[in-house]
């Protein structure tokens, strides 16, 4: 998916960032580039500790790059912007609030002129979208892990952000719950207008959800590889088991190995018969 710089909603160009430690600066990102067009869904994958979470904090305006630019809507990010929604692996719901009040939290902080009822209606609407109707008045401790993560997604979208940042939101869930949430993600995309950047370790997840998958190299991370996913927006899980998807997964798998600094020969398959690799595990 090619895009000119002007129509990219998120544009990260040549970003360099280092953490200061006792042993001197620890560079995590160096020469990282990514462009996400408006309304698109980009997944970022890479080996552990390659600075994926740093990336989310840069886009959210919680951290600023040493060099290079983070640009949203053509404007350089210099402070947190309340047009960004975030969800993490840990759903971090407030245990003392009901699910509805958790979802409505951003509406208490982002300036708006919604009435109490309008805020609640927004919460009801989102919870219904993710199949949590009837749970509005429950406390987070009464919900399963998958349900809590769904509520966390609703909270991230409550204030209608135009950018959604997901930092491994499904990483702690079991395989089947994770697949449920992937489908819910597609439904949310149908109903809500947002541009999404997903950080993940799960290659199947990246191919199933994203229009574009970016592979980060090992630390300090630069953009190593960009894969365009040619599937349309209407996807079903079975699409992951087509030869086309298998070839993409294999491709990403190899790129991750390169990023980890391991020789390719170790795990090389015969690319002529991609069907044999249909059961390729996610990561």
């Amino acid at each position: 998916m090619s895009s000119t710089p002007s129509d990219a909603l998120i544009r990260i160009s040549n970003v360099k960032h280092a953490y200061r430690t006792d042993a001197g600066p620890l560079p995590v990102l160096d020469g990282f580039n990514v462009e996400v067009p408006e309304g698109a869904f980009t997944a970022v994958v890479g080996p552990s500790g390659c600075g994926k979470s740093t990336l989310t904090r840069l886009i959210a305006g919680l951290l600023f790059p040493d060099e290079g630019d983070v640009i949203l809507h053509g404007e350089k990010v210099t402070s947190p912007r309340n047009t960004v929604g975030m969800a993490f692996q840990n759903p971090v719901l407030l245990e003392w609030r009901t699910i509805l009040d958790n979802v409505c939290l951003p509406l208490e902080i982002v300036p708006n002129d919604l009435s109490r009822k309008q805020k609640n209606d927004r919460g009801y609407e989102l919870l219904a979208m993710v199949g949590l109707q009837g749970f509005e008045d429950k406390k987070p401790s009464e919900l399963s892990g998958g349900m809590r993560q769904r509520a966390s997604l609703c909270r991230a979208l409550a204030h209608r952000p135009d950018v959604l940042i997901l930092d491994e939101p499904f990483g702690a869930l079991d395989a089947f719950t994770r697949e449920d949430l992937w489908q819910i993600m597609h439904e949310l995309r149908h109903n809500e207008a947002f541009t999404c950047l997903l950080i993940t370790h799960d290659l199947r997840e990246s191919v199933f959800l994203a229009d574009q998958v970016v592979v980060m190299s090992g630390r300090p991370a630069k953009t190593q590889y960009v894969l365009d996913v040619p599937f349309g927006r209407d996807r079903v899980l079975d699409d992951l088991y087509t030869p086309e998807a298998t070839q993409m997964l294999l491709d990403l798998r190899h790129q991750i190995q390169v990023a980890q600094g391991r020789p390719l020969g170790e795990l090389e398959h015969e690319p002529e018969s991609p069907e044999s690799g249909a059961g390729e595990p996610g990561s």
């Binding site: 305006g61 975030m86 902080i109």
Partner: protein, 254 residues
């Protein structure tokens, strides 16, 4: 467990405990001046009922005032230590050192420093002995707040104060109430230490001291029981406050 049962269980336990106590004193044939028995307590309470009311009130308000001071100080210092790593590293050794000093040795220092200010002295000692757990609980509660909570609110443009009010404060409440339960009993120790070691004619500590001087052992035991009852009362006040403000942290019985 029905509510009737929940009410009856501690009372039955109390009756059994009193009977055992009475029995042990009786079987050993101990006279009053070795060990008073529960049946001696009633007459002692009745005989000094007005003093018990008056001095009990003295002890109670001084203890509560000391606790209030401990809460105010503990919350402020706990916040400073919870939010600033530098302050935490600077203040921890000081606090631990101060807490390690036996408070009985502080009594004469305070009594000399603020000579004649008996109420203030007593309140101060209750405060000094009870602020530590509160400070530590608040600082730990705040410093162990998961960074994601902060990030979510910061990314929405929330101020530090909003983060404290909406997340840090409520999240710390269960730990705070846990510490307050410890602090309640400690505060009573502080009040009585001052009233006994530096007698100035008021408070249950003074009544205990008079019982000792006049060899009225049933009176001394009666004072101990009165202190225990007041401690239990104040403890349950904290439990009720905890249920109101931090009830969400309690696991439901299924």
């Amino acid at each position: 467990m029905s509510s009737k049962q929940r009410f009856a269980t501690p009372i039955i336990a109390l009756v059994i405990f009193s009977l055992l106590w009475e029995f042990v004193v009786w079987i050993n044939g101990w006279p009053n001046y070795v060990m008073a028995s529960p049946s001696d307590l009633g007459p002692a309470f009745y005989k000094f009922r007005w003093l018990f009311l008056e001095f009990g009130w003295d002890t109670l308000w001084r203890t509560v005032a000391g606790l209030m001071l401990a809460i105010a100080f503990g919350v402020v210092v706990g916040m400073i230590m919870g939010f600033s790593r530098t302050m935490r590293e600077a203040l921890y050794p000081l606090l631990v050192g101060f807490n390690a000093i036996p408070k009985a040795t502080v009594v004469p220092v305070v009594a000399l420093l603020l000579v004649g200010q008996h109420n203030l002295n007593t309140v101060l000692l209750a405060f000094m002995i009870s602020f530590f757990p509160i400070t530590v609980s608040i600082s730990i509660g705040l410093s162990t707040l998961e960074p994601e909570y902060r990030d979510i609110l910061l990314s929405l443009g929330a101020s530090r104060l909003t983060i404290f009010r909406k997340i840090a404060l409520p999240k710390t409440l269960p730990e705070f109430f846990g510490a307050l339960k410890v602090a309640v009993t400690l505060a009573f120790i502080g009040t009585n230490l001052m009233e006994i070691v530096e007698p100035h004619g008021r408070g249950l500590g003074h009544l205990f001291d008079s019982g000792k001087i006049s060899a009225d052992y049933p009176l001394m035991f009666a004072v101990l029981i009165a202190l225990a009852v007041m401690g239990i009362g104040l403890y349950y006040v904290v439990v009720i406050l905890e249920k109101i403000f931090a009830g969400w942290a309690e696991r439901q019985e299924s």
